[in-house]
C-alpha cells in the first residue's frame, strides 16, 4: 500500500474510485440500510447473514449464501467477503455503475496497470461488506442455534425484508447488466462450489408430508418470490450457461440448493422423489427413494427416444443394483457407449466430434440420474470424451466410429482386465504359507488374488468380513468355498475379535484420492483402523485408472446415500418393527451411507498394476500415467 500511494495522483480514475468508496460512505450506507429493515425482519436478516456458521457443526458445508447475492453482485467474491447480504446489495445502487464504468475505463486507458487497479478496487470494494459485517456481527452472535421453524419463518420474512431493497435494483441499465454478466462469468469458476451451496433451506425441510415434491417446489416459489423475481435477468443467464454445459448435474453439486435441485428436476427423466428425513450433516448429497420408480421408468421406455436402449438398460441395472462394483459398472457403461457409437449417425449439418460428445453427455446425465457416477466411471467418461474431441475432422463416420470403439475396447482391456492381472501377480507375492487373510465386502480384484494364490498351492485361510445391509461378502464366501479355500465368515461387529489372528488385510477401493485417502465401501475405514491398531499390514488393491487428483479429508463432502429403508428393516425378522412408518416421524433421521474415506495412515501399501506403492505415491502415478496422458 505504501508503495502505491505516491502513484495515486498520477492515475486519475483510481483516485476517483478510491475517493468514492471511502470507508465512511460505505459505513453510512450500511448503517442506513439497517434501519430501513423493519424490526421484525432484523432477526431474520441476522439469521440469513450469520446463522449458517452458527447453526451447523464444524463440517465443511459451505455457508449458505443467498442466491440473489450470488447472481446480482459477483463483485464481492474476489474480495473475499464471505457473506454479503441483501442490505448491502440493495443499498448502494450507485456503487455498481461506477465500478463497472471504472472497469471499462481501466480496460481502455490503463491497460498496463490492470493488476494494480484491480488490487486497489479490491480494497475499495472490500470495505463495504467488511464494515457492514462488523456492524452486524454482534447481532449474529446473539442468535442461538436456529430451529427448524425459525428458519421457515425467516425464509418468509426474508422475502418481505428484501422487498424494499429489490426496488432500486430494477433500475440497472443495460451497460451495467452487461458488466455484471461479464464479472459473473469470471467469478463463476471461483465461486462454483460456493454458489452451489446456496442458502435456502432445502425442500425436504418443509413440515408438510412430501408426497409430491414437485408440487411442493411450486408452492415454495411464491413464498420466496420477493427474492426471486428481481433476479429474472441473471437467472436467464444461468440457464444459458447451463445449456452450454452438459445437462448432467455437476458431480460436486450440492443438493441442499433449492433452485438448482428444482432445475434439475425439470430435466430429470427418472422420477426423483426425495426421502424426507435427511440427516443434517448429509443434506448436500442427493437422496432418492428408489423403491417405486422402477416400474415407472419402465413405462417410460417407449417415450424416451433420445436415450439409447442399451444405456437405458444399464441405467436400470444401476438403479436396481443388479450391477455394482467399480469395475463392473464401468465396463457395463463403456459397453453401452460402444453400442451407442455403433448405432450413431451424424445428423446433417453437424460434426461428429461435437454432436457425439453431446450425445454421450446426455447418456451420462441419464446414468447419473440413476445412480451417481463412481470415480472410475468418471475417469472412463473423461477418457472417452477426450478421444472423441481429439478425433481428426477429416475422418469419415465409419472410421471415426470404429476408432472410438477400438479405443473403448483398449481401455477395458488395458486399464481394467490386464491391470487386474498385474495386480493379482503383485498381490500374490505378499501371501505366504500359513497366512490368515482378511477381506471386507466383495472386492473383485481381491477375489482373483485369493483364487490365484490358491491355484498356485499357497496354503492360507481367509476371513470374510461382511456387513448389513448388502451382505456382499456372502457371494464372495460362496465362490471362495467352492474353490476349496478354507474360510471364516463374520460380521463387521466382530472384526476386533478376529483381527488378532489375521496376518494380512486385503481391501478393495472405489477410488484412491491424491492425498492417499482410500474411498471405498462403507466399513472399509473401520476394518483398516482396527488392522492398524493390531499392527496388521493393510493392502489396498486398486487399478490405477481409479486414481483421482481430488483431495478429500472426510466422508462427508462427497458420498452417496443409499435407501434408508434398507437399514430400518431387517429381513426375516417380522417382529423387529419398531421403525415401521418412520418416514412420518420428524424426529428420526436414517443415514445409509455407501462409501467412506480411509486416511492414508492406515494403509500400508497400495497394490496397483504399476507395482506396490506407498499411498504417498498416488500423485506421482496421476502425474505420470494420468487419464489425460493416455494416447493423447
Amino acid at each position: 500500500m505504501d508503495l502505491r500511494r505516491p502513484n495515486r495522483p498520477v492515475i486519475g480514475p483510481k483516485v476517483r474510485q478510491v475517493g468514492f468508496v471511502t470507508p465512511d460512505s460505505a459505513a453510512a450506507t450500511a448503517s442506513s440500510s439497517i434501519p430501513a429493515v423493519s424490526a421484525a425482519a432484523a432477526a431474520a436478516a441476522a439469521t440469513s447473514a450469520g446463522s449458517p456458521p452458527s447453526s451447523l457443526s464444524p463440517v465443511m458445508i459451505p455457508p449458505p449464501r443467498h442466491p440473489s447475492t450470488e447472481m446480482s453482485n459477483p463483485h464481492f467474491h474476489p474480495v473475499g467477503s464471505y457473506n454479503p447480504s441483501e442490505q448491502i446489495l440493495g443499498s448502494p445502487p450507485a456503487l455498481s455503475p461506477s465500478r463497472s464504468s471504472r472497469f471499462d475505463a481501466d480496460g481502455s486507458d490503463f491497460g498496463g496497470d490492470d493488476d494494480e487497479s484491480v488490487a486497489l478496487s479490491g480494497v475499495g470494494a472490500g470495505m463495504t461488506p467488511k464494515s457492514s459485517l462488523l456492524m452486524r456481527q454482534p447481532v449474529t452472535k446473539t442468535v442461538p442455534l436456529v430451529s427448524e421453524t425459525h428458519k421457515r419463518d425467516s425464509n418468509v420474512s426474508k422475502g418481505k425484508g428484501a422487498g424494499p431493497s429489490a426496488a432500486p435494483k430494477e433500475k440497472l441499465t443495460k451497460a451495467e447488466r452487461r458488466a455484471t454478466q461479464e464479472a459473473q462469468r469470471a467469478a463463476k469458476a471461483a465461486a462454483k462450489e460456493a454458489a452451489a451451496a446456496g442458502g435456502a433451506p432445502s425442500v425436504s425441510k418443509q413440515p408438510k408430508p412430501a408426497t409430491k415434491p414437485a408440487t411442493q417446489q411450486k408452492k415454495d416459489v411464491p413464498s420466496g418470490s420477493g427474492l426471486l423475481q428481481p433476479l429474472a435477468p441473471s437467472g436467464s443467464i444461468e440457464k444459458k450457461q447451463g445449456k452450454k454445459e452438459v445437462a448432467a448435474p455437476h458431480p460436486r453439486m450440492q443438493f441442499d440448493d433449492m433452485t438448482k435441485v428444482g432445475k434439475l428436476k425439470k430435466r430429470a427423466v427418472v422420477n426423483q422423489s426425495e426421502a424426507r428425513n435427511r440427516v443434517e450433516l448429509f443434506r448436500h448429497l442427493p437422496q432418492y427413494e428408489h423403491g417405486t420408480q422402477l416400474p415407472d421408468l419402465e413405462l417410460k421406455f417407449f417415450q424416451l427416444d433420445p436415450i439409447h436402449p442399451s444405456v437405458y438398460q444399464v441405467g436400470l441395472q444401476f438403479l436396481s443394483d443388479k450391477i455394482s462394483g467399480g469395475n463392473g459398472r464401468c465396463i457395463a457403461m463403456l459397453l453401452a457407449f460402444k453400442e451407442v457409437i455403433q448405432d450413431y449417425t451424424t445428423p446433417p449439418e453437424k460434426t461428429l466430434t461435437r454432436d457425439l460428445g453431446a450425445k454421450v453427455g446426455s447418456c451420462v446425465s441419464f446414468l447419473i440420474e440413476c445412480r451417481p457416477l463412481s470415480v472410475s466411471m468418471g475417469n472412463a467418461i473423461r477418457f472417452l470424451k477426450n478421444r472423441i474431441s481429439s478425433l481428426p475432422h477429416n475422418l469419415s463416420d465409419k472410421e471415426a466410429k470404429s476408432r472410438l470403439q477400438s479405443d473403448i475396447d483398449r481401455f477395458i482391456n488395458e486399464k481394467i482386465i490386464i491391470a487386474s492381472k498385474a495386480i493379482v501377480e503383485h498381490g500374490v507375492s505378499k501371501i505366504r504359507d500359513g497366512d490368515v487373510l482378511l477381506t471386507y465386502g466383495s472386492p473383485s480384484v481381491v477375489e482373483s488374488i485369493f483364487a490365484y494364490a490358491h491355484g498356485i498351492k499357497k496354503n492360507f485361510r481367509v476371513v470374510v468380513v461382511d456387513s448389513r445391509p448388502k451382505h456382499e461378502g456372502q457371494g464372495l464366501l460362496r465362490r471362495l468355498v467352492e474353490r476349496g479355500i478354507h474360510c471364516t465368515y463374520t460380521h463387521l461387529n466382530a472384526v476386533s475379535y478376529v483381527m488378532h489372528e489375521v496376518t494380512r488385510v486385503f481391501l478393495g477401493a472405489s477410488s484412491v484420492l491424491s492425498n492417499g485417502t482410500v474411498y471405498s465401501r462403507v466399513g472399509t475405514a473401520c476394518v483398516a483402523m482396527v488392522a492398524h491398531a493390531f499392527r496388521v499390514p493393510v493392502l489396498v488393491c486398486c487399478e490405477a485408472y481409479k486414481f483421482h487428483e481430488r483431495v478429500q479429508l472426510d466422508s462427508i463432502c462427497s458420498n452417496e446415500l443409499g435407501d434408508p429403508d434398507a437399514i430400518s428393516k431387517v429381513s426375516g425378522r417380522k417382529d423387529l418393527n419398531y421403525l415401521d412408518g418412520w418416514a412420518q416421524n420428524e424426529n428420526i433421521q436414517l443415514l445409509n451411507l455407501k462409501y467412506d474415506a480411509t486416511p492414508s495412515d492406515y494403509v500400508s501399501v497400495l497394490v496397483t498394476e504399476q507395482g506396490m506403492l506407498p499411498p504417498t505415491s498416488v500423485p506421482v502415478i496421476i502425474r505420470e500415467y494420468g487419464i489425460e496422458r493416455l494416447w493423447t
Binding site: 499390514p537 493392502l539 500400508s604 501399501v605 506396490m612 505415491s617
Partner: protein
C-alpha cells in the same frame, strides 16, 4: 571358538553339501540355466548370507577364527572358479562366469557390492558373442538372474543388476553406428560405474554438511562407507562434533568404525548396542547407512537399525540415512519377516545350551515413518520421494 556354538554346527551341517553342489551347478547347470532349474538347483545353497559375509570380511574386527574360515571359503571359491572358468568360457556365457567375476570384484574392500555386480555384468558383455542388441539383452538378463539367485540376500546386488539391465534396455543400437559401438559404450559405462559410485558418496557428503552443526552429537550404527565419508568431510571442514558409536554386534563393525573416526581426530565414544536408549537423550541426530532403500521409503540395514530408529523417534531425534541411489530397490516389505532371510553366524563366546535356538538374521527393516530424511546423490529426500524416483526409473 564360535564353531562350538549350536548355530554354527547347524549351519555347518547345511554347509557341507555346498562345494559339491556348487561344482555340480558349475558343470551341469550351464546348458540349461532356465529359471526353474535355477530355483531348484540354487547355485549357492549356503544359508549364510554372502553379502553379510563380505561386509564382515571388510569391516568387522576380524577374529582369527573368522579369518581362517574366510580363507577357507576363498580357497573353495578359487577352486570353483578355476573349474568354472573353463565351463563359463565355453558355455553360452552368462552361466557361471559372471559369478566368479562378481566374486573377484567383491573381494576388493573399497568397492561397493553394486559396483562389483556391474563389473561382472560388463565382463559378460565383453565375452559375449551376441551380434544383436536383443541377444545381448537376453544374455545379460540370464547372467543377472544367475547373479541375483546366487545371493538373494544382497539388495544392492539385485538393485544394481536391475539398474544396469534397465540401462541396456534403454540403450538401443540405433543410437550408435553399429552394434559394436553400442557394446563399447555399455562396457565403458559399466567401467565408469565405480567412479560414479565414489562420486555419489562425495555428493552425499556435501549435501549432508548443512545438517551437521558445531557442537552436535551424532549417533552412528553400523559401518557405512557413506557415513564415514560424511563425517570425514565434516571433520575436514573443521566442524566440532561428538560421535557415539554402537558396538555393532555380532561382527563389531562399530569398533572398526570408531577406530577410523579416532584416526581422524573426531571425539568418539563406544556404546554397547543395548545402551542406545540410555545415550539417546544426549544425541542430536542419528546417522545410519543402508544396505537397501525400499519402495516404501524405509530402509533395510544391519540388525539393530530399527530399534535405534524407534528409540530416536520416541525421543524426537532426527534419523538421517545416507545411501547412494543405486541402493534403491523395487521391494516393498510389509513387516520384518517379509524379506528374504539373511542369516549369519553369531558368536556368543560361551557354549550355547543345547535346545536353545539363536536368531541369526543379519538385517532388519526400518519403516519410513521412523526416518526423517534420506541423503542420496539425487538430493536430500523425504522417504516418500523414493517411490517417486523408483517409478520414474523402472515403470
Amino acid at each position: 571358538m564360535w564353531w562350538r556354538s549350536a548355530s554354527f554346527i547347524r549351519d555347518r551341517q547345511n554347509q557341507n553339501p555346498k562345494p559339491s553342489s556348487l561344482l555340480h551347478s558349475a558343470l551341469d547347470d550351464s546348458p540349461s540355466p532356465t529359471s526353474t532349474s535355477m530355483a531348484a538347483l540354487n547355485p549357492n545353497p549356503n544359508p549364510i548370507s554372502a553379502y553379510y559375509q563380505t561386509r564382515a570380511e571388510h569391516h568387522a574386527v576380524v577374529t582369527s577364527d573368522w579369518l581362517a574360515q574366510s580363507v577357507e571359503a576363498a580357497a573353495g571359491d578359487v577352486a570353483v572358479s578355476s573349474g568354472g572358468a573353463e565351463g563359463g568360457s565355453k558355455g553360452e556365457g552368462g552361466g557361471v562366469g559372471v559369478i566368479e567375476e562378481f566374486n573377484y570384484w567383491r573381494k576388493k574392500p573399497d568397492l561397493a557390492e553394486a559396483v562389483a555386480a556391474i563389473m561382472a555384468l560388463a565382463a559378460v558383455i565383453r565375452s559375449s558373442e551376441a551380434t544383436t542388441m536383443n541377444e545381448l539383452d537376453i544374455e545379460l538378463k540370464k547372467a543377472s538372474n544367475n547373479l541375483k539367485s546366487w545371493d538373494t540376500t544382497s539388495i544392492s546386488l539385485s538393485a544394481a543388476c536391475d539398474l544396469f539391465i534397465r540401462y541396456v534396455t534403454r540403450t538401443s543400437a540405433l543410437e550408435y553406428e553399429d552394434f559394436d559401438a553400442a557394446k563399447r559404450r555399455l562396457i565403458e559405462r559399466a567401467e565408469k560405474f565405480g567412479e560414479i559410485s565414489l562420486k555419489a558418496r562425495k555428493t552425499i557428503a556435501m549435501l549432508s554438511q548443512d545438517f551437521i552443526s558445531d557442537g552436535c552429537t551424532i549417533l552412528v550404527h553400523g559401518y557405512s562407507r557413506v557415513v564415514l565419508e560424511v563425517l570425514k568431510m565434516a571433520a575436514s571442514n573443521k566442524k566440532l562434533f561428538h560421535v557415539l558409536c554402537t558396538e555393532g554386534r555380532p561382527d563389531r563393525t562399530g569398533l572398526r568404525f570408531s577406530k577410523e573416526l579416532a584416526a581422524l581426530g573426531i571425539p568418539v565414544k563406544l556404546l554397547i548396542d543395548s545402551a542406545v536408549a540410555y545415550a539417546m537423550d544426549e544425541v542430536d541426530m542419528v546417522f545410519v547407512g543402508a544396505d537397501g532403500v525400499v519402495e516404501s521409503g524405509g530402509i533395510i540395514n544391519m540388525m539393530g537399525t530399527y530399534q535405534v530408529a524407534l528409540v530416536a523417534h520416541s525421543m524426537n531425534k532426527p534419523v538421517y540415512v545416507a545411501a547412494e541411489s543405486y541402493k534403491f530397490a523395487r521391494l516393498y516389505p510389509l513387516d520384518q519377516k517379509d524379506l528374504e532371510p539373511a542369516l549369519r553366524p553369531i558368536e556368543f563366546g560361551v557354549p550355547i545350551p543345547s535346545g536353545v535356538e539363536v536368531e541369526t538374521s543379519a538385517r532388519d527393516y526400518t519403516p519410513p515413518q521412523y526416518l526423517t530424511l534420506l541423503f542420496t546423490d539425487l538430493g536430500v529426500l523425504t522417504p516418500s520421494v523414493v517411490s517417486d524416483e523408483l517409478i520414474q526409473l523402472y515403470v
